[in-house]
Each structure stands twice: as structure tokens, then as C-alpha cells.
């Protein structure tokens, strides 16, 4: 028996390897570098790794190849999305690395200590925070990058776990409000495992389907790579219940990560409980990864079943937009409000995904980048509004903030206007692009629902604006902390990108358009 070795294009997967190497190095730093020097080392290592990966990625911009034995596809969308994840992750790492706002940084050293115990109080008050958060974050980034370029369902599942497990742990690391943080992590973990089970079961069903098709004379057994699924799905009418059952379950697994209704239930609790920097990381990067994978699964593997899945996923998109928009109206906590807004945005992204035309891919990718910048900037502002107990996230506490600190209230107003899709912000352009693509693809019903819900959604954002500017500051209005250099950098990048992408979005739109072609 001879064994055929997989052909590996090392240059094409170099960004992945760099991220993995950086993560492994990060673990070694934890093991061998003295405690005092760890934070700086880790921060520099993570940022340098991300920049190096980005540089290598840019040199690979023209690569279009399926490599590693068909497990990884490096094509336009994969490169574009990997690049987006890296850039957004740089901002998130800047936020994570900020230590000037709170003594010892926003993280504790050990996530699992019983809340309220003597040890827990000691570690919450002690200066040093965990630097493990950096290797965790880099592992998650590696998982996300693999997730968007996985070319078979098993690789995709591995990537899903690699990106999820560090995130679960990172959620539990908040220095303040430990109980809520641990609760968030546990909920995220349990429901995430639950969703993973759906995904895996779906993979099994799809394998069964391809096997039943390929069992025809002269064919090999089934497979879970996207080319095989595509061939099987376009070819045979037999046992399509397996195909659709499998697709439904896989979609559920992915929609969970993307926070689409009714699989969004974890989002508000987790966004609220997790440390704010981590929430920003999840809201931006995880969303890119989840939708990148969803795009690939739907456009590469199940392209032939488009007419069958569009109505169902369209209904989910509408439900998601409705739930996100309507429930955000009554939120009183800013992080929960942003969570519901993130749910609604998942709905708009789904509209782009379901457009079914090439513009659908490119506009969805543009939306992901634009939204990522804005949402990280939003969470950066949230980290700055503090009182003695840490961040003050209750909406009533933000009343009159415009008087106390007009600059930050102005910045946050701009961010909220971008969320509301007001022209001259990236929010307007990205909604316009997504809805335009959906109209091109004949999905008028989704666009109508999208326009209506974005009207509803404008209300909660503007309510915050009105509250900040038109209320008198009360006794309990918190102060705005002076941001450290890292937070300031992340904030400036996010706001500038939101403005630039709103005024002159053409270069990025062109880039996403050139990149919007999958290979099979």
C-alpha cells in the first residue's frame, strides 16, 4: 500500500502558520519569561505576529489555490476575510492590552476561582492580571482565520472549536463583576457546545448523503469536502432529506456563532458579562469568522440547493432583524443594547449572504469590515465611562454625558449614527450595498424587512444620543477616564475608518468586489 502525501502550499497558508506559531510562542512566554516582563512581551509578540501575518497575507493577495490535501482553500474571500480578522484583531488586542484604566488591567489571573471567596477577592484587588489572555486571543484569531478558509466540514469543525474554546475562557476573566462574568462564560460554553453538537451531527448527515450518492457503480465513498458535496448535491435526487437535514444542522451551528435568531439567546448575557475588550473582539472578529464560514458553506458546497434554502434562511434573517431591532428598544444596559444591535446586524448580513449573486459576497464582506471597525470603537468608548465600581454601563448613568465630556459623547454619537445607518458613515454605505445586492438577487422581501427594521433600530440609538446630550448630568453621572495610548489608538482607528468608509468607500468596495469569488 502506498500513501499519497498531501501537497502543501506553505506560502499560501503562511499567515495561518504565523498566527499559530505566535500563539504557541505565547504559551512558552507564559512558561519561561519572568512575571514582570510578561505583559509587555506578550503585547509586543501578539501585535508583531498580527502585523507579520498581515504583511505576508498582502504578498499572497493573488493566490487562488486549494491546498493541504483539499482541507484549506486560499481564495479571494478567504484572503479578504483573513485580512479583516487580522486588522480588527489588532484593534481588539490594543484594547485588551490597555492597563492604565484599571490597576493591573481588566483581567484577573484565574478565571475559575469561586466568586466571593477570599482568594477571589485577593486576585481581584491584586495588581497583576492574567497575561494568558494573549495566547488565548491569538489561538482564537488563528481559529477564525482557519474557519474562513476551511475547505471541508471537518477542518471547519476543528477551526470552530479552536476559535470557541479560548473565547469561552476569555469571557470569564473580567476583573469586575466576577459572578456575571463567570456566568456568561458558562452559558456561552454550554450553549456553544450544544450548537457544536448540531454542527457535527449535520456533518454526519451530509456525509451520509454524499456516500449514498457516490455509492453508484464505479464511485468512491462519500466525503465532507465542499467539492464533493457540491457535486453530490447537484447530481442526484436520492435521499435529499439527508442533505437538507444536514445543511439545516450545519447552518444552525454557524448561525449560533453569528448570533442569528432564534440561536441568539446567549448573546445579550455573554456580551454583558464578558470583559468589554473581549466583547468587542467577539462582536467584530467572531462575526467576520462566522459569516465568512457561512458564505463559504452556502456558496461553495450547497450552491445547487440555493432555491431550497433561501426561503428558510430568509425567514431566519427577518426574524433576526425583528428580534434585534424590537428588543433593543427596551434595553437599559448599554452592553445589552449593543448585543441586540449586533443581533440585528447579523440579520442584515444574512440579507447580503442570501442575495445569491456575486455582489452579495462582496457587500457582505464590506459590511463585516465596516461594522467591525465601528463596533470595536463603540466598546472602546464603553471601557472609558467609569465610576468607582468599574464601567458604568447602565443607560441612566450616561444621561448628561455630553455636558461632562463633549468630545467623547460626540465620538459616541458619531458611532451610534453609524449604527443607525445615517449617510456619510460606513453604516449607511454597508446597508446600502447589502440591500442593493439583495435587490439584484431578487430578494425584495428581505430588503423591505431590512429597511423597516432599520427604521425601528434607529430609535434606541437616538435615544442614547438624546440622553447624552439633552439630559442634565446627575450626581451619579460617571467620569470619563482619560484613555491610555492603546485605547486611544483603537478608538481613533475605529472612528476614522467609520468616517472614511462612509465618505470614500470606493477603494474597499472595489477590493471586496475583486475578492468576491470563491474557488471550489
Amino acid at each position: 500500500m502506498t500513501i499519497k502525501f498531501p501537497d502543501i502550499d506553505y506560502a499560501a497558508i503562511a499567515p495561518l502558520l504565523i498566527m499559530f506559531g505566535v500563539a504557541a510562542l505565547g504559551v512558552l512566554v507564559e512558561a519561561f519569561v519572568p512575571k514582570r516582563a510578561r505583559h509587555l512581551t506578550q503585547l509586543v509578540l501578539a501585535l508583531a505576529g498580527l502585523v507579520a501575518a498581515l504583511v505576508v497575507l498582502v504578498t499572497q493577495a493573488e493566490t487562488r489555490v486549494v491546498t493541504a490535501g483539499g482541507a484549506i482553500a486560499v481564495d479571494g474571500p478567504a484572503l479578504f476575510l483573513q485580512g479583516s480578522i487580522i486588522v480588527l484583531a489588532i484593534m481588539a488586542v490594543l484594547l485588551i492590552g490597555e492597563r492604565s484604566l484599571e490597576k493591573g488591567g481588566p483581567f484577573v489571573a484565574q478565571a475559575a476561582i469561586t466568586v466571593g471567596s477570599e482568594d477571589d477577592r485577593r486576585q481581584a484587588a491584586r495588581a497583576d492580571g492574567a497575561t494568558e489572555v494573549y495566547p488565548l486571543a491569538t489561538f482564537a484569531i488563528f481559529g477564525m482565520m482557519l474557519f474562513v478558509s476551511a475547505n471541508d466540514l471537518l477542518t471547519m469543525f476543528i477551526a470552530l472549536e479552536v476559535l470557541s474554546l479560548p473565547l469561552y475562557l476569555m469571557c470569564a476573566l473580567a476583573r469586575r463583576r466576577r459572578l456575571v462574568s463567570q456566568e456568561a462564560a458558562l452559558k456561552y460554553f454550554m450553549l456553544g457546545a450544544y450548537a457544536s453538537a448540531f454542527f457535527l451531527f449535520g456533518v454526519a448527515l451530509v456525509y451520509g448523503f454524499t456516500a449514498s450518492v457516490q455509492a453508484a457503480p464505479g464511485r468512491m465513498a462519500g466525503g465532507v469536502d465542499f467539492a464533493t458535496i457540491h457535486a453530490a448535491a447537484t447530481q442526484s435526487p436520492a435521499n435529499r432529506a439527508l442533505l437538507f437535514g444536514g445543511l439545516a444542522m450545519i447552518a444552525i451551528g454557524l448561525l449560533f456563532k453569528a448570533a442569528a435568531a432564534p440561536f441568539h439567546v446567549w448573546t445579550p448575557d455573554v456580551y454583558q458579562g464578558a470583559p468589554t475588550a473581549v466583547t468587542g473582539f467577539m462582536a467584530a472578529c467572531t462575526k467576520v469568522a462566522a459569516f465568512g464560514a457561512l458564505l463559504r458553506v452556502l456558496y461553495v458546497a450547497f450552491d445547487g440547493a440555493r432555491w431550497d434554502f433561501t426561503p428558510v434562511l430568509g425567514a431566519i434573517a427577518i426574524l433576526t432583524m425583528l428580534v434585534g431591532a424590537v428588543l433593543s428598544v427596551t434595553q437599559t444596559d448599554l452592553k445589552r443594547l449593543l448585543a441586540y444591535s449586533s443581533i440585528a446586524n447579523a440579520g442584515y448580513l444574512l440579507v447580503g449572504v442570501l442575495a445569491g449573486v456575486r455582489e452579495g459576497i462582496s457587500s457582505t464582506m464590506f459590511y463585516l469590515v465596516a461594522y467591525g471597525f465601528t463596533v470595536i470603537a463603540a466598546f472602546a468608548v464603553v471601557t472609558l465611562v467609569r465610576d468607582a465600581d468599574g464601567e458604568a454601563t447602565h443607560l441612566s448613568r450616561w444621561a448628561g454625558l455630553g455636558r461632562r465630556s463633549p468630545v467623547f459623547a460626540g465620538v459616541f454619537t458619531f458611532i451610534l449614527l453609524a449604527f443607525a445607518g445615517i449617510p456619510l458613515t460606513s453604516g449607511f454605505i454597508s446597508k446600502f450595498a447589502v440591500f442593493g445586492a439583495a435587490l439584484d438577487g431578487g430578494q425584495t422581501w428581505l430588503v423591505i424587512a431590512g429597511v423597516i427594521t432599520s427604521m425601528v433600530l434607529a430609535f434606541p440609538y437616538l435615544r442614547v444620543v438624546v440622553m447624552m446630550w439633552l439630559s442634565e448630568p446627575g450626581e451619579s453621572t460617571p467620569t470619563i477616564a482619560v484613555p491610555g495610548a492603546l485605547t486611544a489608538a483603537a478608538l481613533v482607528i475605529g472612528v476614522a475608518a467609520t468616517l472614511v468608509l462612509g465618505v470614500a468607500p470606493a477603494p474597499l468596495l472595489n477590493l471586496s468586489d475583486t475578492a468576491g469569488q470563491f474557488i471550489r
Binding site: P423, V451, M455, L470
Partner: protein, 639 residues
């Protein structure tokens, strides 16, 4: 008349037409960013920015005459380009946008000047001028864009500025509420505009004026009707027309210069601009024109009737604005040569209504912010300048022979009689009746304010005339009110010809011109006489019980109650129902099981929190539905 619309590329002086928007925008940004530090010079900077805009507009205006078609286009940069969707940041300077620019910068400059004096004692005057310049920039963007997306940008911009300025005195709950009301009702209209723009893109692949107007001929009449109705919805929202008229009178909570500039002279006429600009769409469908005419006729009557029952000087003027814009809608709806008539009336109205609002502001300035006309009277001796200028505005609006309104309103009434069949009688008489009612309520306002016995509140001893910086603009606007209509009527109609359709062999009116004019004059003088006789001795100081009609008019013909029942209540109910469902339905169903097993202790507390198990349950339910739906689709049950 199939002719292709093309615009020349802007060169030379006209190449810098973007400065018109940039100057007030930069000025606004400087003022707002400096905040309190700009308090010393903000008002002069803001006024100078608009003044510079006016000078520039004049230069552009005169260099436009040498251009082919008298229209130039300038694409600044590519805004959006996705697939075959391409939107440019582009400007179009043609006769229609030119006259609007002149109105915005010209009248705007005078109102800015007036506001320097009017807002002198307000400690947030710099902010006011920042918003005011922001408004001017957005309004200029609205009329200068060369595609519907640019128009929409300006549209949202003026909406924002209007919202900020209505609730400028945000410490007054009524001002904050009025701002919100204006914002929400405008959103309803904006939704129509957005969908209209999407429709254009879907059917024509472009939102450029030139492409859209050239492509309208090839569309089915249903699509044109849909597109036009959606545009009309946007126009009614912004212009305070039926059914979205209720926000405009409440918007008078803002400072008076705001009411003059935004809610009388410029922003509220954006709807008229939208329809006039889109004349290719509106002229292409007769049903559409009839709808526009009906909206105009209905609104002009609503405005008159409510205006006659109000006692707040600014609200009377506001309802009068609603009614006058109704005339303009009537004009643009009639089509053909009446487009130009509507625009001319719009310009004349810009002058005399701004004049009267500023006059009202001057009265309030001298009367310690009293707005109730029942507490005025006998002011003509004490405020001679205000009285004189206001009188010019009054004569202009009622259409007194020789004054503006006479030259601009009469042709619209005549044009209404030029429709075919019975509709000529319907709309013609509506317009005539409106003229009579206008004369009545405006005379009532004028008599109660300036003539008759003093009915002031006790704390006022000597009402004083306003300072020169406020009187100066008043005088200039009064001159404009008196003569603008007569001067502009025929040259402007000709000037507007390329963008607007020319007078093409219109049918004879059902009555002769002479009869119509006579009738209109008789009704006008009847209105004036009746009002003078009724109110020359003053009126009761408090609201008197009244019959059904007057009560209904005092209640704004129940439009607010209607909105509350039809829109607000179901909206609130929907939100509450969904929250209820999430709290009780999903969590409750799961916890209900747990409670049945484990006993009732702590059940209420559990109902409030989200447990992982209930989350998992709802995911499971969702998963079952999704899988079932997939299988159903596959079996052909759903598709």
C-alpha cells in the same frame, strides 16, 4: 416630447460650485468643535458664511447664462460602487437649483442677521449658529445634488438640523417633545423616499437625475405610479402636507428665526422641490398628478380652517405655511406650466412668510415672549417698523392687488380651473375658497395683534421696538414681500424652462380669467372685511366654548388623536407584546415545567432571569422548526 437630458461638465467659475456647501459646513464645524470658545465670534462667522454663499450664488447665477441648456454638472468623486450600482458625489447647478440657492442664501442671510439680535441674550447663541450653518449646508446639498442619493443625504441633514433646532431649548419639555414628533413623522416620509430610491435603482439601475428622467418613459405605468407615490410620501413628510402635517405647527417651539428659515422659507419647501425636480416622473402618470393635486387642495383647506381657530401667533403662521405649501403642491400637481407657477409662489412665500415670522418674533421680543394674540392689540403705535413690515407681508399673502401674492397665487387658482371636466370645478373652488379663508385668518391675526384696544398682561408696561439689527432685515424682507411676486412672475417662469416643462397649449379654464380673478378678489375682500368687523374691538381673553367645527379646528382636526390611535398604540403594543413573549412565553414555558415539578417557591424570581436551560430550549425549538422547514421545502410543501 421625447428628449434626452444631458448636462454639460462644469468648468471655469462654475467648477467651484461645491464651495457653496463647503463654506457653511466648515463654518458650522469650526463653531461646534470650538464650543464655548467660539462664543465671541460665532454669530458673525455664521452670518458671514451665508453672506459669502449669497455672493457666490450670484456669481454662479450670472455665469450660468452662458452655458448650454443653462445647466452644469460636476462629479466630485465616486461615492459607492458595488457591482452595477454606482453613486457619485456629484452636483448639478441649473436654473431650478439656482433659484433655490438664491432663496436659501439670500433670505437665509437676512434671517441670520436678524438672529444675531434675536438670540443676543441666549448663552448658547454660538451653538445655535453652528446648527444654523449646518442646516444651510445640508439644504444646499439637497438642492445641488445631481442624483437622488445626494438629495437624500441633504434630506437627512436638514432633518437632523431641524430636529436639533426645534428642541434647541431642550429644557422645555414641550420643545423636546416637538423635536421628537418632527423627527418621527419625518422618518415616515423618509422611509418612502428611501424605498423610492431603491425602486429607481431596481428598475433603472441608476439614481442620477439624467438617467432616471431619461428612463422613466420606458417603465410600466404601475412602477411609475409606485415610485411617484413613494416620492410623494417623502415630500408630504418634509413639507407638512396631509397626512403628515401634524408636526409642523409643533415645530414652532424652536426659536423664531428657525421657524422663519427652516419651517417657513426653505426646508418645508423641499417637498415641492422634490416633486418639481422629479417632474418627469410625475408628468408621466395622470393618477399620480391627481393624487398630488388632491393632497395639495385638501391640505390648503385644512391649513386655513385650523389657522382660523388658533390663538398662538406662531401657530397661526405655521398653519398658514401648511396651507400655502398646499397651494404649491396644487401647482406642481397640475403639471405643465403650473410647475413654474408653484416655484414662483414658493419664492414669494419665502419672502413674505419669513418676513411675517420675523415680525412675530419682533413682537414677542417686545412683549416678553408672549405668543397669545388675545393678549396683544394696539401695537401699531409702539412698534411702527414691525407694524409696517408685517402689513406688507399680510397684504402679500392675502393677494392684495399689486402685492406679491396677487401675482403668484392667482395663476395657480386659474391653472386649477384649467383641468378637464368636473375636477376643474372641485380643485378650482377649493383654491378660491382657500383664498377667502386665508384673507380671513390673516386679517384676524393682523387686526388682533396691531389694532384694537390693548389687552396686554399686567407685567408689560412699555412694549419696545426691536433693535436696528432686527429691523433692518425686516425692512428688506418687507420690500421683497411687496414687490418680488410682481417682478419675478414672468421672467422666472421663462428662466425655469429647461428643467421644468414649458407651457404647452393649455386648455381654456372653465370660467374666463376675468371671472376667476373677480371672484377671487371678492372672496378676499369679503374675508378681510368680515375679520375686521369681527375683531376690530378685540376679542375675549380666554378660550370660549365653541361649536363642533371650531373645536375640531382647535384640536388640529383631530390629526394627533388619529396618529395616536392608528400608529402609536399598535407600535407600543407590538413592542410590549414581544418583550412579554420573551419574558413570559419562552422562559415561562420552560420554567412552568420546572415549577410544576419543584413546587412554587421562588417561581416568580425564576420567571425574571434567563436560565441556560430555557435558552437551550428555545434553541432546540428553533432547530426543530428550521429542520422541519428545510424538509418541508424539499418536499415541495412550501415552494
Amino acid at each position: 416630447m421625447e428628449q434626452t437630458i444631458e448636462y454639460a461638465h462644469a468648468t471655469g467659475v462654475l467648477g467651484s460650485v461645491w464651495l457653496l456647501i463647503a463654506i457653511p459646513l466648515v463654518s458650522s464645524a469650526v463653531i461646534l468643535l470650538l464650543g464655548r470658545r467660539s462664543a465671541k465670534f460665532a454669530h458673525w462667522l455664521g452670518t458671514a458664511a451665508i453672506g459669502a454663499g449669497f455672493v457666490l450664488t450670484l456669481i454662479y447665477f450670472f455665469s450660468l447664462r452662458d452655458q448650454p441648456n443653462r445647466a452644469v454638472e460636476r462629479n466630485l468623486w465616486e461615492f459607492i460602487s458595488v457591482g452595477n450600482l454606482k453613486v457619485d458625489i456629484g452636483l448639478l447647478f441649473d436654473p431650478l437649483s439656482a433659484v433655490f440657492c438664491l432663496l436659501i442664501t439670500g433670505v437665509g442671510f437676512l434671517i441670520h442677521l436678524y438672529a444675531v439680535g434675536y438670540m443676543a441674550h441666549d448663552e448658547r447663541r454660538h451653538t445655535f449658529f453652528g446648527y444654523f450653518n449646518l442646516f444651510a449646508a445640508a439644504m444646499l446639498l439637497l438642492v445641488l445634488g445631481n442624483n437622488y442619493v445626494m438629495l437624500y443625504l441633504g434630506w437627512e441633514g436638514v432633518g437632523l438640523a431641524s430636529y436639533l433646532l426645534i428642541s434647541f431649548w431642550y429644557t422645555r419639555p414641550s420643545a423636546a417633545t416637538a423635536g421628537k414628533k418632527a423627527f418621527l413623522m419625518n422618518r415616515v416620509g423618509d422611509a418612502g423616499l428611501v424605498i423610492a430610491i431603491f425602486t429607481m435603482f431596481a428598475y433603472l439601475g441608476s439614481t442620477n437625475y439624467a438617467d432616471v428622467f431619461n428612463g422613466v418613459g420606458g417603465l410600466s405605468s404601475t412602477v411609475v405610479l409606485l415610485m411617484g407615490l413613494l416620492l410623494l410620501l417623502g415630500a408630504t413628510g418634509k413639507s407638512g402636507q396631509f397626512p403628515l402635517q401634524a408636526w409642523l405647527p409643533d415645530a414652532m417651539e424652536g426659536p423664531t428665526p428657525v421657524s422663519a428659515l427652516i419651517h417657513a422659507a426653505t426646508m418645508v419647501t423641499a417637498g415641492v422641490y422634490l416633486i418639481a425636480r422629479s417632474n418627469a416622473i410625475f408628468s408621466a402618470n395622470e393618477v399620480l398628478q391627481t393624487v398630488v393635486v388632491s393632497v395639495g387642495a385638501l391640505t390648503l383647506l385644512i391649513g386655513c380652517i385650523i389657522g382660523a381657530a388658533k390663538d398662538d401667533i406662531k401657530r397661526v403662521l405655521a398653519w398658514s405655511t401648511v396651507s400655502q405649501i398646499g397651494y404649491m403642491f396644487l401647482g406642481v400637481g397640475l403639471g405643465g406650466g403650473a410647475y413654474a407657477l408653484a416655484i414662483i409662489h414658493l419664492l414669494a412665500h419665502g419672502f413674505f412668510k419669513a418676513n411675517m415670522f420675523l415680525g412675530a418674533g419682533s413682537v414677542m421680543h417686545g412683549m416678553k415672549d408672549q405668543v397669545d394674540i388675545r393678549r396683544f392689540g394696539g401695537l401699531w403705535k409702539l412698534m411702527p417698523w414691525t407694524f409696517g413690515t408685517f402689513t406688507a407681508g399680510w397684504l402679500a399673502i392675502v393677494g392684495f392687488p399689486g402685492f406679491s401674492g396677487f401675482f403668484t397665487k392667482e395663476p395657480i387658482i386659474v391653472a386649477a380651473f384649467e383641468r378637464e371636466g368636473w375636477t376643474a370645478w372641485l380643485y378650482g373652488w377649493a383654491a378660491l375658497l382657500g383664498a377667502g379663508l386665508t384673507a380671513f385668518y390673516m386679517t384676524r391675526l393682523w387686526v388682533l395683534t396691531f389694532l384694537g384696544p390693548k389687552r396686554w398682561t399686567e407685567d408689560i408696561e412699555h412694549p419696545h421696538e426691536s433693535p436696528p439689527i432686527m429691523v433692518g432685515p425686516l425692512v428688506l424682507l418687507a420690500i421683497g414681500s411687496a414687490i418680488a411676486g410682481g417682478l419675478m412672475a414672468s421672467p422666472v417662469a421663462k428662466w425655469l424652462e429647461p428643467p421644468l416643462p414649458h407651457e404647452a397649449g393649455h386648455p381654456e379654464p372653465v370660467m374666463s380669467h376675468g371671472v376667476i380673478t373677480t371672484l377671487s378678489l371678492v372672496l378676499t375682500f369679503a374675508g378681510i372685511g368680515l375679520a375686521y368687523l369681527l375683531f376690530r374691538r378685540g376679542t375675549a381673553l380666554v378660550e370660549q366654548p365653541a361649536g363642533v367645527v371650531v373645536t375640531a379646528a382647535r384640536r388640529n382636526l383631530y390629526a394627533d388623536a388619529f396618529n395616536e390611535i392608528v400608529f402609536e398604540k399598535p407600535g407600543i403594543f407590538l413592542t410590549r407584546a414581544l418583550v412579554f413573549l420573551d419574558n413570559r412565553g419562552i422562559d415561562g414555558a420552560v420554567n412552568g415545567l420546572a415549577a410544576a415539578v419543584g413546587g412554587g417557591s421562588g417561581r416568580l424570581r425564576r420567571l425574571q432571569t434567563g436560565f441556560v436551560r430555557s435558552y437551550a430550549m428555545s434553541m432546540m425549538a428553533g432547530a426543530l422548526v428550521v429542520v422541519a422547514a428545510f424538509v418541508a421545502v424539499q418536499m415541495g410543501w412550501l415552494s
